[in-house]
Symmetry: C2
Subunit: 200 residues, 2 copies
DNA sequence: ACCTGAACACCGTTCAAGT
DNA sequence: ACCTGAACACCGTTCAAGT
């Protein structure tokens, strides 16, 4: 069950790689979602997440860990999409969650905010990778730019004045700049949003 | 191209619904992603988003509009998943973006923050729907609970103390409570996170 | 010119039959 | 008991042939 350089992780492809029929895989996993979760966890095990640098603040370490995870997902957008609908639960994933909880706790935020917050951080990382992840460098993806981009240029001033006014900002920023702004946004949001009293 | 009660929106299914071959659809759309975007936009046109209630604050109206959009996506998780990887660009979607920009602008936040922020709000709504959207009420989805839930109960105190400590909070809260907390989180994050100077 | 039947190249999952 | 070949029920997309 080693994670080779498989492009599209598929029951049939993996079975072929293993010189057997696709039915055999169902001895180990119940369905494709579980297969993807297992592969993702294996990849997570091969990546060395940056260690917490004792000299720096929790925030930098938190962003570093998230960035590292996101980079992995960016290279496997298919796994990111799977992880979005069925959260992984492998040992390496739990290690990541453990670490994120520890780092975010150092912010001093209440435990409930930390718990719910980590969920949102992981969702943001996963969704962004699913959205923008390198889709096998398809030549069609050149104009596959955000659909908004295409639509935006033909926007009617009188019908959508706000879009027109925000256009430069809507399209500005590199992918990296937006990703790290997004991490900051979610972290700041966590720190500033108490969980409703009744739910705890 | 009316949007009937189609469960799984598929090239072949839709073609059959229209008493023709699947090839015929390629006259109107280039691929499945475009088909899904078109269907989503049509559905968006049939939903009446709650009007801005003049007596209330921008924040309530913003959350109401987002909730309405999210509810629609929850009923069509497949479309949510498509919308995540290829943002729609139909007229009704642009209307939604226009409105979100207008409402968030009333917060007084700088234009760049508003523009980038709306993107994150839409991503959060879409990702949440893709993640938790009613998957055709499959009987298997009863224990399809968050994988974390299953894994969590067998968590080793010494190996993952933070997960153990946060366990109740990690699993607490209804779906609705978490969704609206998430909207608050993103909104608060937008208000507190200036976009980097260089990118504007 | 426009539409589409039929074919191609894939999928996930199941189950009866084999070892 | 464990594994798996072969079949079933789907997919998206293309293209040559028809009107």
């Amino acid at each position: 069950m080693r994670s080779e350089g498989l492009e599209k992780v598929t029951m049939r492809r993996l079975a072929q790689e293993l010189d057997t029929g696709p039915a055999s895989l169902y001895v180990y996993v119940a369905n494709t979602a579980e297969l993807h979760a297992a592969v993702l966890d294996a990849l997570l095990g091969e990546v060395e997440l940056p260690a917490d640098r004792s000299g720096t603040g929790w925030r930098e370490d938190l962003v570093a860990a998230l960035t590292s995870y996101t980079r992995l997902l960016f290279e496997h957008p298919q796994l990111a999409r799977s992880a979005l609908v069925a959260r992984p639960s492998g040992a390496n994933y739990l290690d990541l969650v453990e670490r994120l909880l520890r780092l975010l706790s150092r912010s001093g935020a209440p435990r409930e905010q930390v718990a719910w917050g980590v969920d949102n951080l992981l969702q943001y990382a996963t969704a962004t990778a699913a959205e923008h992840g390198t889709q096998e460098s398809d030549p069609t993806s050149r104009d596959d730019w955000d659909a908004l981009t295409r639509a935006a240029h033909g926007v009617d001033e009188s019908e959508h004045p706000m879009i027109k006014a925000h256009l430069p900002a809507l399209l500005s920023g590199t992918q990296d700049a937006r990703l790290s702004w997004g991490f900051d946004l979610v972290i700041n949001g966590i720190l500033h949003t108490p969980v409703p009293h009744a739910t705890v």
